[in-house]
């Protein structure tokens, strides 16, 4: 369905509010007495209802209205926060999400689910509770709350009454007025106020000049008191609540939905001020100026503490609004377009820079250098626009873990570390499913049942941790659990049984762990609807690798498993290092370059003899790029051999190239379907000269060099045994 911009915005905002609602509900489950969390849930429902009202989405309004009513009872401590209540609100949140989605898909909502939910919401409502439930709710009140209620009962309202001049003429009987006040409670004292009675010259016997300062002991609210004076035209009534009510008003102010209302409106809404009092204050303000709060306090209709709280709340809301205003919602497609254009500009800039260098014109070169600096800033800013913190993606798994844990009768908690770490939006969108898969596996196969955990000396509750951090130009996301971990022996046996590994084949621990990524490989004894079919881990690895990333497994039997995912920061433009192998140009991602070394004769000989060299005493596996890429060396003779040390996932390897050309910004272009099967390349870019350069896939190169490293270690071990190690090290 084609939706207008405003409806799109409504849907986006609703989805954000629903995310916030879910987050608050999950936290509320752990802290059921946290008023702020209850307010967050209420605000989300309230705002969705209000916004739906603007668009006339009646079915959303009517449903959220019922939700809001129950939430109001929860806010007022009339309905306790229980697991069942949280589960109900979770379902409610899901249903609202379906309603919102239905606006796009034009699909009808699930009527049955709606009726069931409405029934459950109604059953939870305070009026529908049994006496027993009510007494339980009372028991949930803290001692402090009960004390507060007592205080309200024992303290008194202060009424300042000034009757209107026409009271007598209109035939009002003051007996009735005082009878009604007595009906509300007990008049503790009443002082007649005669200040308004004029002197002989101006006394009008038919005019009323009477007033009272009255102390009333009652449990009713301000609105009820005001109603007594409803028909007394021209009367000026100020009602100050009992002392303890001030804190009630302050609480009410804190709980109000965050609307940018005027001070007077806020005070009327919480019942601290009547409409009439407000109108009088506003009239006074029109004539004399001044601040509403000051006028209200001077007129004695509201206590200064209440005004202060309202003003404080207003300021907070305005500040938040201001912050909101500093953000602009932009269609992500526009950002993608911007990044593409910046990419084109980078390529164009490189071309102009090369021309300037060729013409050897200092002024042009200088101007070009300035422009390239600005271009670099522009590129970083444009890419920064697409960077999104991971926390939103991570937080989504709270709900999955909660629901799945209940289904599996397990107790599992999600810990998030480094959620503020930012990653390109495109990468984030693609990493969601693989992460979900890893988490489901941890829940199903990793974390043990509570009884088993206790038996193993662990806490009843299992922990799944999502951790994100930067590491040499990549983002590392770790998914770990404190469950049973992988059993390498069992894994190997299964692999041999299924013919994935030959019976005679021996694998090291890392290779055994990597078996879980083999298609169709599963260690699960039973297939559940959560995992265990052996479908998925191969897809997880494929998805991660398609993002130029890698996944590594670490596990300790009985202690848990850690899946380490490494991803590039961005998929768009990178700082690269331009190298030449024979006549061909290649780009190495600069953040993976550790150092550049010009080899001496001894090292060149060593590199030719072995597949490694010794660099400052350490063995460094080598890849001779010309040989690796099948490029004939004599096409483009090089005066010397250059070594580039690259690193990935804590490992270093050396790449032997013919020439180092220096840094270059590279706009990553995909290789296209024809070359997708070619390993060792992450894409290509266009150089300033217009020449194409392939971007080297360093993680892939490191991986392929690992085999060589094992071989080197084996050689070293053999030398160690024959006593030749010292000789090798001394070289």
């Amino acid at each position: 369905m084609q939706l207008d911009e405003n409806t799109q915005l409504f849907i986006t905002e609703c989805n954000e509010l629903l995310d916030d609602m879910e987050d608050a509900l999950l936290k509320l489950e752990r802290s059921p007495n946290d008023v702020d969390l209850i307010n967050r849930v209420f605000r989300a429902a309230h705002t969705i209802k209000g916004s739906a009202g603007l668009f006339g989405f009646e079915h959303i309004i009517s449903f959220t209205h019922v939700v809001e009513n129950l939430l109001d009872d929860v806010r007022n401590c009339l309905v306790p926060v229980t697991d069942d209540l949280i589960s109900l609100f979770m379902r409610v949140k899901d249903h609202i999400a379906i309603m919102i989605k239905g606006l796009v898909d034009e699909l009808p909502t699930d009527e049955n689910e709606e009726q069931v939910l409405l029934g459950m919401l109604s059953a939870f409502k305070v009026g529908n509770n049994t006496e027993k439930e009510m007494s339980i709710q009372e028991a949930h009140l803290t001692g402090e709350q009960s004390e507060d209620r007592q205080q309200v009962r024992s303290e008194h309202w202060h009424l300042s009454i000034r009757l209107g001049p026409d009271t007598f003429r209109q035939g009002f009987d003051l007996h009735v007025l005082f009878d009604q006040l007595c009906d509300l409670g007990n008049i503790v004292t009443a002082r007649l106020v005669t200040d308004s009675i004029p002197s002989l010259d101006s006394y009008d016997p038919e005019s009323c000049y009477l007033g009272w300062e009255l102390i009333l002991d009652t449990n009713v609210d301000k609105k009820t008191i005001v109603e007594v004076f409803e028909f007394f035209d021209g009367a000026r009534i100020s009602i100050l609540p009992p002392r303890s009510k001030i804190s009630d008003y302050q609480d009410m102010l804190a709980q109000l939905p965050e609307n940018d209302k005027l001070l007077g409106q806020l005070l009327v809404e919480i019942g601290a001020l009547t409409e009439n009092e407000l109108q009088q204050a506003l009239n006074f303000q029109m004539k004399n100026g001044g601040l509403t709060g000051d006028i209200l306090v001077n007129q004695g209709v509201v206590q200064p503490e209440v005004v202060d709280s309202a003003v404080e709340g207003q300021q907070k809301i305005r500040k938040e609004k201001q912050q909101e205003l500093s953000f602009v919602r932009v269609d992500s497609a526009k950002l993608d377009k911007l990044v593409t254009l910046v990419g084109e500009l980078v390529i164009g800039g490189a071309k102009v820079a090369q021309l300037a260098t060729e013409r050897d014109d200092d002024e042009i070169i200088e101007s070009m250098e300035e422009m390239m600096l600005t271009l670099e800033n522009m590129r970083e800013t444009a890419l920064g626009l697409r960077m999104v913190p991971l926390v939103n993606t991570f937080s989504r798994y709270h709900r999955v873990i909660r629901d799945t844990a209940k289904q599996l009768n397990k107790k599992i908690r999600l810990d998030i570390i480094g959620g503020e770490t930012e990653l390109d939006k495109t990468v984030i969108e693609k990493i969601g499913d693989p992460l979900m898969h890893l988490i489901r596996n941890s829940m199903d196969h990793g974390i043990e049942l509570p009884a088993e955990r206790i038996k193993a000396g662990k806490s009843e509750e299992g922990i799944i941790t999502l951790k994100a951090f930067h590491e040499t130009g990549t983002i590392v996301i770790e998914v770990s659990d404190d469950g049973s971990g992988l059993n390498p022996e069992k894994l190997l046996n299964i692999a041999k049984e299924r013919g994935v590994v030959k019976a005679s084949q021996n694998l090291n621990e890392e290779e055994i762990y990597n078996l879980i990524f083999e298609p169709g490989f599963s260690t699960a004894e039973a297939v559940s609807n959560i995992s265990g079919r052996g479908v998925g881990m191969d897809v997880v690895r494929r998805n991660i690798e398609s993002l130029r990333g890698s996944v590594v497994v670490n596990s300790v039997l009985g202690e848990g498993i850690k899946m380490i995912i490494r991803l590039p920061l961005t998929l768009a433009i990178i700082d690269g290092f331009h190298v030449r192998v024979s006549a061909e140009s290649f780009i190495i991602p600069l953040d993976m370059v550790d150092e550049c070394v010009t080899l001496n004769d001894e090292q060149i000989t060593e590199s030719k003899v072995h597949g490694y060299i010794k660099l400052r005493g350490n063995v460094l596996p080598l890849i001779k790029m010309g040989q690796y890429l099948g490029i004939k060396a004599n096409n483009y003779p090089s005066p010397r051999l250059n070594l580039i040390v690259v690193k990935f996932a804590g490992r270093k390897i050396g790449l032997l190239v013919d020439e180092l050309q220096g840094e270059a910004q590279a706009v990553i272009k995909p290789l296209g379907r024809t070359f997708q099967g070619v390993s060792g390349f992450a894409g290509f870019t266009i150089l300033g000269s217009g020449q194409l350069a392939l971007i080297l896939d360093v993680p892939g190169l490191v991986k392929s060099a690992i085999g060589k490293e094992h071989a080197v270690q084996t050689i070293n071990n053999k030398r160690d045994l024959s006593g030749n190690l010292c000789e090798v090290s001394m070289r």
Binding site: T167, F168, R169, G171, D173, L174, H175, L177, F178, I187, T189, A190, R191, L192, T194, I197, S199, L200, Y203, P205, E206, C208, Y209, L210, W212, L214
Partner: protein, 105 residues
């Protein structure tokens, strides 16, 4: 409705004293307030009264105090007292905040 004497005025109010009669009552009382230095008001024959009358009595008390006129109110029935008490129609004095408007019957 009312007896009237110069300088030392004695006023006896009788019958209904409500909003309907209040203008007449005010006229008579204000004349005395301006003319007499000692005023005695007898309420023993008052039959019906309302808040406008009680207000007038408060006004007379205040005015007498302002003019240093000696004022005595007598013949206050239980009904008048009850009526005044019901709407807390008391007048301030130097000694206390809550002095009943009328104390003697």
């Amino acid at each position: 409705m009312m007896d009237y004497k110069q300088k030392s005025a004695q006023l006896k109010l009788n019958g209904d004293c409500s909003i309907y009669e209040i203008c007449d009552l005010y006229k008579k009382l204000s004349e005395q307030l301006q003319a007499a230095s000692v005023i005695t008001i007898d309420l023993s024959s008052v039959e019906r009264l309302d808040a406008s009358f009680l207000q007038l009595l408060v006004f007379v008390q205040l005015e007498a105090k302002r003019n240093k006129t000696k004022l005595e109110i007598k013949g206050v029935s239980g009904r008048i007292n009850e009526h005044a008490a019901h709407i807390y129609c008391h007048i301030l004095s130097d000694n206390t905040d809550y002095v009943p408007l009328v104390g003697n019957k």
